[in-house]
Structures are given as C-alpha cells and as structure tokens.
C-alpha cells in the first residue's frame, strides 16, 4: 500500500533520503490520531445518529435484500437527497407504463419507488391505486385472455395492491394517511369489498395519535357506514350510530339516517328510541335526507333499509308531495307523451 502511495506522490526513495522512516512515522501518527479521535467521537455520533433517525431527518439504512432489489439505484441513492429525485422520475416513467397498460413494469417500478422514498404517502397511494383499481380492471377486461385467467389476474392485482399498502403501513406505522389507504381499499365496493375489515380499519385510524380531530370524527362515521353494510353487524352499527349521535358535531345526514335505520331494525336492542323530529328536527328535512338515502340504496343495493320506505310513504302523505315527485306514488302517473 505504501509503495502504491509512494508511486503516486513520488516520495523520495530510501537510498536518496536518510529520513526514509519519517513518512512512515507520520502515517502511523496520523492513523493513531484518527483511531483515538474516532474512539472518542463514537458514542456521540451513535447518539446523534439515533436522534436523527428518530426525528426522521436521515433515512434508515437499506438492508441487504433492499440493496439487491434496488440494484445500481441503491448506490446512486446513497447520495443525500437523490433518492426522492430518482423516485420522482421513476414515477413519471411509471405513468407511461399506465398509459401502455404494462402493469408488470409499473408494479416493479413502484416497488422500487417506495424503497427510494418510503415516507412519501403519495407513492403508496398512487402505487396501490394503480394495482387495485387500474391493473385489476384492465386485466379483467382484457378480452385476449381466457375468462379464468382474467378473473385470476383481477383478484391477484387487488391482493397485490393490498399487500403493497400493508408494506407501507409496516414502514410508516405513524402515518394515518397510509393507514387510511387500507380502509379505503376494503371499503371500495367495486374491488372485492370487505366492509367488516374496512370498519375495523377506520376505527383503528380514529384512535391513531396524530390524526386531526375532524378526521378522527370522520373516520368514526366512515366506520359506521361500513358496519351498516355488514348484514350481521346491525347491532354494532346501531350502537356506534347512537354513540356518535351524542356528539352534536357528528349529526350529519348520513349519520342521522343510520340512526333511524338502526333503531328501526327489528332485531336491534334499542337504547333510546328517538322520534323522527328528534333526529331530523323537521319533517321536510327528514323527507329530503331519507329520500336521498333510498334512491342511493336502490342504485347501489348494498345496505338494508329498515323503516325507510314506510317513513317516506308516510311523509309523502303528510307533506302532500305531488305525485310525479314522489318516491312511492299512490296513483298511476299520467303518461307525458302519447304515441300515435
């Protein structure tokens, strides 16, 4: 090594210089100083490193598997601040895969992107959206594939998207934004929904420490709306609706409807039966909001609507709603156009 250094910096040879040992002594002294000062700074640096990791000012080191997965990019990403830049440009490239419907390439790119910029909720959200919504639907609608393969790929991409979100939660346990993706995924009625799990996830979200208060209430209400869609959980849905109703800030139309439906369910143990006017304050408002709920439920067919039809019929009579505007007209409507 020393010969190598001497070759490069042209140190005088032993024959020419009687002080030949001096460079050696200098090198040994320098090395000793570095070792001693290195030992002295070790604990301070370790504590500072832990402090900076806790403050999330520096990223965690990659493990061997991650380095292998990232290939050459891990080397480039070692330079501070280059990771988010590479991730951003890969995201642009992934959007081209979306246009070309090259889902395998897109999936691979997003796996790398989230390794490069793991604390960015945007990439977890976009990656899971591509897998759960786009890749699954595209595979299901690909007429070149046999029916069995299409169905298999559809499920496979939805599961991959769910696993992708799980990885995001594992890497960012404090991020409610990433945790909310899982609840949204299960509550998505077009992609193999599981409203029971969605309700659980929303309730977990509402208990996370760093969630803004208005979002906490929102997550509780979303848990209620998901529970209301689970046939066996009508009692839990009613109990939650009753509990949330006690806070005046929660009294939004959907929650009032859920409470009305819950207390109208024949199998529910009702804690306190509120009157229609207690809940909705006026009959007009009750009619307006229940009507919206009923029309929506006909469209989606995803929820039992105990007591709603009867209430609407009654209100239409009391409020003298004109026959053409009624949800349940009592007279046959006159045809507006008579063909010749």
């Amino acid at each position: 090594m020393w010969l190598f250094i001497r070759h490069f910096h042209g140190l005088p040879s032993a024959k020419k210089n009687s002080n030949m040992k001096k460079p050696w002594i200098n090198s040994i002294i320098i090395l000793c100083v570095l070792l001693i000062t290195g030992y002295a700074r070790l604990s301070f640096e370790q504590k500072l490193n832990e402090e900076m990791l806790e403050l999330k000012l520096i990223p965690k080191s990659y493990d061997m598997d991650t380095r292998i997965a990232l290939k050459q990019k891990s080397f480039a990403a070692g330079i501070g601040s280059l990771r988010p830049t590479i991730a951003a440009f890969m995201n642009v490239s992934a959007s081209n895969d979306h246009s070309k419907q090259d889902w395998q390439s897109l999936e691979s790119k997003f796996n790398d992107i989230v390794l490069l910029d793991p604390h960015n909720p945007y990439y977890w959200e976009t990656g899971s959206w591509h897998l759960v919504s786009n890749a699954s639907a595209s595979s299901r609608d690909d007429e070149e594939l046999p029916e069995v393969t299409r169905r298999k790929l559809y499920r496979q991409y939805i599961n991959k998207g769910t696993e992708f979100i799980d990885r995001g939660i594992q890497m960012n346990p404090d991020s409610w934004q990433i945790a909310s993706l899982k609840a949204k995924r299960y509550a998505n009625k077009y992609r193999l929904p599981d409203f029971d799990k969605a309700a659980d996830e929303y309730l977990k979200l509402s208990k996370m420490p760093n969630v803004p208060s208005f979002r906490r209430d929102l997550f509780k209400r979303k848990a209620l709306y998901c529970l209301a869609k689970v046939p066996d959980k009508h009692q839990e849905a009613y109990d939650l609706a009753y509990k949330l109703y006690q806070d005046p800030n929660n009294r939004v139309p959907s929650l009032l409807n859920a409470l009305w439906i819950g207390q109208s369910h024949p199998l529910n143990k009702v804690k306190h039966r509120y009157s229609l006017l207690d809940i909705y304050k006026t009959q007009n408002r009750a009619y307006k909001w229940l009507r919206v709920k009923w029309i929506g439920s006909i469209r989606h067919k995803d929820e039992a609507m105990y007591g709603v039809e009867k209430t609407i019929r009654g209100l239409e009579q009391i409020l003298l709603i004109p026959q053409p505007n009624r949800v349940f007209p009592t007279q046959a409507l006159k045809p507006m156009f008579i063909p010749k």
């Binding site: 250094i5 910096h9 570095l34 000062t37 500072l48 501070g80």
Partner: protein, 305 residues
C-alpha cells in the same frame, strides 16, 4: 544587531489574503457557470416535471418535494465536486505555477497557507450555495403560494374549512421555512469536511488523480459508515469478534460519518430540524474540519519541495 521579526503562528490577515487569492483563482476557472445550469434545471423542472403529479390527496405537495429534492441534489453535487476537485488541485497547481515557492519563502507559516487555501475553496462553495438557496427559496415561496391559492379556489366555496386549513398547514410545512436554509447550511458543512479530507490527502500526494480517487473512496465509505457502526454494535451485543466486525470497527474509527452531516432527506419530507440537533451537527463538522486540517498541517509542516 538585527533582531528577526517574530512571525505569529496564525494570522487572520494573512489567511484572508491567501483565501481571497484562492477564491479569485477559482472564480477565474469559471465555476460559477454551474449556477446558470442550476437555474435552468429549476426552470425545466417547473416547466416539464412538476405538473406530472396529479391525483391523490397529497399530489400538490409532491411538487414542492420534487423542487426541494432536485435543488438539494444539485447543491450536493456542486459542493462535493467543488470541494474535492478544487482542493485536490490547490497544492499541485501552486507547485506547477511555482506560486507555492514564492509564498513559502516568505514568513508565512504553513498552517496559514493551508487554512487560507481551504477557506478560499469554502468561500466559493458558500457563495454558490447562498445563490442556490436564494433561488430555491424564491421558487418554493412562489410555488407554495400558488398551490395554496389553488386549494382555496378549489375548496373555498362551500368546502370544509378544517380540510382547507389542514391542506394549507401541510403545504406551508413543505414550503419555505428556516429548515430549508438549515439543510443548505448542513450541505456546506459536508462540503467543508470533504474539502478538509481532500486537503489532508493532497498534502502527502502530489498527484491530483490520486487525491481525487482517494477522497471519493473516503466519501463513499463515509456514506455507509452508519451501517458499519450498526454492525459493530450488533456484533458486540452478541459478543462476536469476527474479521468483518474488526474491519467495521476500523472503518468507524478512521473514516468520517457523512450520513450524520445531512438533513436534506428530512427537510424534503417536511420534517423540522431542531436547533439543538443542528448545533450537534455543526460541532461534529467543525471537529472533522479541525482534525483533518491539523493533520494536513502535521504532514505538510516539514515537507520539502
């Protein structure tokens, strides 16, 4: 009887003259052209890339994140390249131009010469980083305000005021704060440490290429130094003493930890840099600079040319 004038060990006027001369020398090498490239990079980013982030709840702050990450990458690149190449060139160029002989034959202590040269390089990097930080701050402020304005116009009419407030707080956290300048300052500290390492190597090497290669190797080792430290701690917890753990120990003790002198990743994520942490990073950086400069002087003090 002639009484020789006593030369003080360190003289600030002497150091400032050498630093000023080094700065002028480097400015004449047209290094400031990089600033034009930086400005063009920021402009191109705004024109062609920032608009590609669409959809999702957090799309708008991505623009600010990308602006910060690209700017910090350019700052890192410029300061590292300048710190290594300019410092590696200093002594060989002075020998080649024979300027070194005219300086050292005067009553100029070699420590003054080394500190002056180092400060000249650091001054150049500092001025450049100030310019880049200024440009980043202007762009960041302008973009944050325009994003807030678009959020208000989107959600303002009949929207949830709490959601709007949350969005504004998030955008402001990613926008122009003191943390932006702290990150630039830490980039400067990192450049200072790299420059002092290059100075140390250049004192025992007369080949610029050797200095460049060795400094880059030390820089790369310094970037994974935290991994080596973790390996040692894990090995010591298990009571292991393998060759790898001994080698890791050597790396940890001898090489600087460049990962510690970096907060830009956190600032890009919108994290806050506490002043106490910044102070600790400053102490670590000054310690490294002082150590390597002292060792440079130790090697250089009796070097014959």
């Amino acid at each position: 009887m002639i009484i020789p004038r006593k030369t003080s060990f360190i003289s600030l006027p002497r150091i400032s003259v050498i630093a000023g001369h080094t700065f002028t020398q480097l400015v004449r090498m047209k290094v400031f052209y990089f600033l034009i490239i930086f400005a063009v990079l920021i402009w191109a980013l705004k024109q062609f890339v920032l608009g590609t982030f669409t959809g999702g709840d957090t799309a708008s702050e991505q623009q600010l994140r990308l602006l910060k990450s690209t700017s910090y990458f350019a700052m890192n690149l410029f300061s590292i390249v300048m710190a290594i190449s300019a410092t590696a060139l200093l002594i060989p160029k002075d020998i080649e131009d024979r300027t070194l002989y005219t300086i050292l034959c005067k009553p100029v202590p070699r420590l003054d010469y080394l500190i002056g040269k180092l400060l000249g390089v650091l001054l150049l990097i500092f001025v450049s980083l100030i310019f880049m930080d200024l440009l980043l701050s202007v762009m960041l402020h302008y973009n944050t305000q325009s994003l807030i304005a678009s959020e208000i116009s989107l959600m303002g009419a009949g929207g949830n005021s709490e959601v709007l407030q949350e969005r504004i707080t998030t955008l402001n956290a990613h926008g122009l704060t003191n943390n932006i300048h702290y990150a630039t300052l830490v980039i400067f500290f990192k450049a200072a440490v790299i420059a002092s390492v290059a100075l140390l190597i250049s004192t025992f090497s007369t080949s610029t290429i050797f200095t460049l290669i060795l400094t880059i190797i030390i820089l790369l080792i310094g970037m994974i130094q935290a991994d080596a430290r973790e390996l040692i701690l894990k090995a010591s917890e298990r009571g292991e003493t393998s060759i790898i753990s001994k080698l890791s120990m050597f790396i940890v003790l001898v090489f600087p930890d460049f990962q510690l002198i970096s907060v830009d990743d956190g600032v890009i994520d919108g994290k806050i840099v506490p002043k106490l942490t910044l102070l600790k990073i400053t102490i670590v950086s000054f310690f490294y600079v002082a150590l390597y400069t002292s060792l440079s002087w130790f090697t250089f003090r009796k070097k014959e040319f």
